[in-house]
């Protein structure tokens, strides 16, 4: 197989069966974004560090910039577009909104997918476990505390108060 050779790919994305012919070298991220129009997955570094492109593939969080679309053959993929149910944001999304989790929104898809995968494995993580999971994704806007709080809120844990006005 050469890099530019067209190959057939069939997989399930957000519950729908998708089939396409792609170049062997096409990344999963570009396939999702450009061929399937799922632009909610973002590319922040294209070398696997920032985590913005994270999607869930067969239950595991993966960096879609580091995978070829052809490697996702027959897999089940969930992207950020697959979180809301019939246009209603899920518990994690609502908790993030409540917590003002994000600012510019560019890193957001990666965090949401990474956290979704974590909560599937461990529905009641400690704050230290959450931090450990978040540490694989980079956010440049928030300093992470609001994202951490969003996860705590999503799992029903106490969220430390932050806003303190003084006379």
């Amino acid at each position: 197989m050469t890099l530019g050779e067209a190959v057939d790919v069939a997989l399930t994305v957000n519950g729908s069966r998708r089939e396409a012919q792609v170049e062997a070298r096409r990344t999963l991220a570009d396939f999702l974004r450009e061929d399937l129009g799922l632009t909610g997955t973002h590319l922040g570094c294209e070398h696997g560090v920032c985590g913005a492109c994270t999607v869930i593939l067969d239950g595991e969080p993966v960096r879609s910039c580091l995978m070829f679309a052809v490697q996702a053959r027959d897999a089940t993929v969930t992207t950020i577009e697959g979180l809301a149910v019939e246009g209603v944001m899920n518990n994690l999304q609502e908790a993030m909104r409540e917590s003002h989790g994000f600012q510019c929104g560019f890193c957001t898809p990666g965090f949401l997918m990474q956290i979704t995968a974590m909560l599937a494995d461990n529905p009641n993580p400690t704050e230290a476990e959450i931090r450990d999971t978040l540490s694989g994704n980079i956010c440049r806007c928030t300093g992470y505390e609001s994202i951490l709080n969003g996860v705590l809120r999503a799992i029903g844990a106490d969220v430390p108060g932050s806003h303190q006005s003084v006379p």
Binding site: R33, C50, M89, F102, Q103, G105, R140, Y144, Q164, V166
Partner: protein, 779 residues
């Protein structure tokens, strides 16, 4: 008046952590960033960049690239320059550049990553394939890798028409009686304070989609830009188009922090190519290009002499600042004026002398980065701690002694001119001592040291011109805004701001909704379209006051207009009418209330209204900033330095800040925390490193390290919200403060932790290796 069940209650939104209007799309993947723009027939551009810092291009061969499948065009520098309007001058940071340059390099390259050629192909993959096949031969001209090298007149000028590598010759100003201040001093404390080169690094790199329509002759630019109007001006000039033929739109922007102001050479090239080819062309910067060539900030050296008394009075400063502005024009050359004006900060000085010079080097351009004048805050606040250390005094006491006293009726002024009205530096410092038990920390620190653990506490105080006080430094400018009440009762807010994470769709709507009298959900904020919104940009921590104020005053004017027109409908005096929760009615007569949509329709459907009744229900206003004012505060960090590994852990970080009245506390705190996180990154991790040959060494996220959730602690924030200056608008900006003050706060804390080693820290970048060097653990 007691509210009854049937009477709508005036809704308050200002001061509430209202949930963001941006979030439903951002949290579901429905945002619209520039790379999400896909147009029919769209082509993709990829640049060939220079691997050399300073070299003459002796030959360039594009023939192999042209033959690649999918390639539509390949342009070298001279070829592309032919497409530029011959009348156009090279763009600089807000205005013309101080010297000429071309869109792509035509004869020589001036930094690693300089633009040498560009390929346009039917996919990004194929464009990259072809760009890699362009063969360029270079003749090394000898890199100018530092400001010192730039000031050495034997080096080859990087820009010929500048004639040297000095952008700004040393220029000196003085304020107060400098000689008297130094004559009265018991001693002079000296330091060479350095900020290192680091950069904005928004998670979204730069990018553009240029879409020239050969039929209409119109250029549509989809951008990622803090100032669409500024981008439009540059495009108009460079492409030689009429202003009415160019439209710039921006959707969601994935961060910027000062980087994406104006238009880059890459964006101009992309637009030139679209115009030439008559097709849409997309360029999306990759992270390597971004780190290498989007722009860097902060590489500055400040030689300081501080005239002090043995009791800790700071009488004056003499400062010589040198900035390495990199190659192509950016913000570096204009730093001197801002740093000079801000240097005294909240401190009372008797004399201040400032000298500024700027060098051109073979590195990435100096761009605005969150708090671009921060060199003065860093230098001053680190120097205050050095003074305290040298005199054996507590740094807190030195600050207490020197921060200007401000009787309520007689605000102090900075020695450089501006009034300190609304500055609460002293109050923030005192409040910090109530929040943090410093004596208890000192006891814990001593106990830890006995066990070989090194804890440190540092604090620093700052002011942020957000937007700054009226007078003493010129006006505050004007912020235009248009507001329209739609037929369906929606309040449309057309802002000149270009949000890129700041939540303006939420905060400006909060102000407008409360002032006008509609539910928050009835307000729609429109931004980022040069055809629809007033000229402006987001930057300089101005939006809270300027756009918040514009929102308040424009909503007030529109409300009055609606009430005056409604008077004819209700047969009542406008003064007796009110708009509450989206309904117009006679005050005190709940049954009279009618929804705005109905009122608009009825008024517009009424024949024979007096001529003076304006049924446009639209107002365009410009707000002058009112009384303006300062933001500011004090930050405090407690750190632990591991002297085995050199790692620094931030154990506690406390912010006492005053940005006046908070519009949305959660938004304010997000800005503060984000800024502090960038400051933590600057000190402990980030560096846009070059070697001595100006080779770039930090081209990936494995080399350029950003703070993660493991590096940034929870940040305690306390708001003062004091000193109303203006009858209506006391919201002040908060975007830059965290990034300005976190670096000196952390450096002071680390220096405190390492004081048993006799360490004196005059620099900002303190990664583990440097810590170990400083304490003598490396030989």
């Amino acid at each position: 008046m007691e509210a009854t069940a049937s009477q709508p209650i005036a809704q308050r939104f200002i001061g509430e952590s209202v949930k963001r209007s941006e979030d439903p799309r951002i949290l579901t993947g429905a945002g619209n960033y520039v790379d999400d723009v896909q147009l029919p027939g769209m082509l993709h551009a990829c640049f060939t960049r220079s691997p050399m810092a300073h070299a003459r291009i002796t030959s360039i061969d594009i023939s192999a690239a042209l033959e690649q499948p999918g390639v539509v065009a390949v342009f070298t520098g001279p070829q592309l320059q032919e497409l530029v309007d011959p009348e156009a001058v090279s763009p600089g940071f807000f205005g013309p550049a101080p010297f000429k340059y071309t869109v792509l390099a035509t004869d020589k390259v001036r930094l690693v990553g300089d633009l040498v050629a560009v390929v346009v192909a039917d996919s990004r993959y194929r464009a990259e394939d072809a760009a890699a096949l362009i063969e360029v031969d270079y003749e090394d001209l000898g890199p100018i890798a530092s400001a010192e090298a730039a000031f050495d007149s034997s080096g080859t000028p990087i820009f010929e028409d500048l004639g040297s590598n000095v952008l700004t010759q040393p220029t000196k100003s003085s304020f107060g009686d400098v000689e008297a201040a130094f004559a009265a001093a018991d001693r002079v404390v000296t330091a060479r304070i350095r900020q290192h080169r680091h950069q904005n690094v928004p998670m979204e790199c730069r990018g553009v989609v240029a879409d020239f329509d050969p039929g209409t002759g119109e250029l549509m630019v989809h951008g990622s830009n803090q100032g669409p109007g500024l981008a439009k001006m540059v495009m108009v000039a460079q492409l030689g188009l009429e202003p009415d033929k160019v439209r710039v739109v921006c959707g969601d922007i994935g961060g910027s922090f000062g980087l994406k102001i104006g238009t880059s050479r890459e964006e101009i090239a992309t637009a030139l190519l679209s115009k030439h080819l008559g097709r849409p062309v997309k360029w999306i910067e990759d992270r390597n290009e971004h780190l290498m060539a989007s722009g860097h900030a902060r590489e500055e050296t400040l030689d300081v002499e501080a005239a002090v008394t043995d009791q800790g009075d700071i009488l004056g400063f003499k400062v010589k600042m040198v900035v390495d502005t990199g190659a192509y024009p950016g913000m570096g050359g204009m730093l001197g004026g801002i740093v000079q004006a801000m240097f005294p900060g909240p401190y009372s000085l008797k004399g201040f002398e400032f000298e500024f010079s700027a060098a051109v080097t073979n590195k990435a351009s100096y761009v605005a980065y969150r708090g671009p004048w921060a060199a003065e805050t860093f230098t001053r606040e680190v120097t205050v701690d050095l003074i305290a250390a040298e005199l054996g005094l507590d740094p807190l006491e030195v600050r207490r002694r020197n921060i200007a006293f401000q009787p309520a009726d007689n605000p102090a002024s900075m020695l450089t001119g501006r009034s300190l009205a609304s500055c609460t530096a002293r109050e923030s410092l005192e409040h910090m001592t109530k929040v943090v038990d410093i004596p208890a920390f000192r006891a814990r620190q001593a106990a830890a040291r006995a066990e070989g653990r090194y804890l440190g506490l540092g604090l620093a105080t700052y002011i942020e011109a957000a937007p700054g006080p009226r007078g003493g430094g010129g006006g505050l400018g004007n912020e235009a805004m248009r507001m329209a009440l739609d037929e369906d009762g929606t309040l449309l807010v057309f802002t000149a701001q270009m949000p890129h994470g700041q939540s303006h769709e939420t905060t400006l709507a909060q102000v407008a909704a409360e002032e006008f009298g509609v539910p928050f959900e009835s307000v729609r904020v429109v931004a980022g379209d040069t055809d629809r919104v007033p000229f402006g940009f987001t930057g300089g921590s101005r939006s809270a006051t300027m756009a918040g104020g514009a929102s308040l005053h424009t909503a007030r004017a529109l409300r009055q207009k609606v009430l005056e027109a409604s008077a004819h409908l209700f047969e009542a005096d406008p003064a007796d009418l009110e708009i509450v929760a989206g309904q117009v009615g006679v005050r005190g007569v709940p049954v009279s209330a009618r929804p705005l949509a109905q009122v608009v329709a009825e008024i517009r459907g009424t024949d024979g209204l007096p001529e003076e009744v304006d049924t446009s229900f639209e107002v365009t206003n410009a707000y002058d900033g009112g009384e303006g004012g300062w933001s500011g505060g004090t930050h405090l960090a407690i750190v632990e330095v591991d002297v085995e590994t050199g790692l620094v852990e931030v154990e506690r970080y406390v912010v006492v800040e005053d940005c006046g009245k908070l519009i949305n506390p959660a938004v304010v705190e997000g800005q503060v925390r984000g800024g502090v996180a960038q400051g933590i990154g600057a000190v402990l991790l980030e560096r846009s490193a070059y070697d001595e040959n100006a080779q770039f060494l930090a081209g990936t996220f494995m080399d350029y390290l950003l703070p993660t959730a493991m590096n940034v602690p929870r940040i305690e924030i306390h708001h003062l919200e004091t000193v109303p200056l203006d009858p209506d608008v006391n919201f002040r900006g908060v975007g830059e403060g965290g990034m300005i003050i976190a670096p000196p706060t952390l450096v002071n804390a680390i220096a405190d932790a390492l004081s048993p080693f006799g360490v004196r820290i005059e620099e900002q970048h303190l990664p583990p290796l440097r810590i170990l060097e400083l304490i003598g653990a490396l030989d």
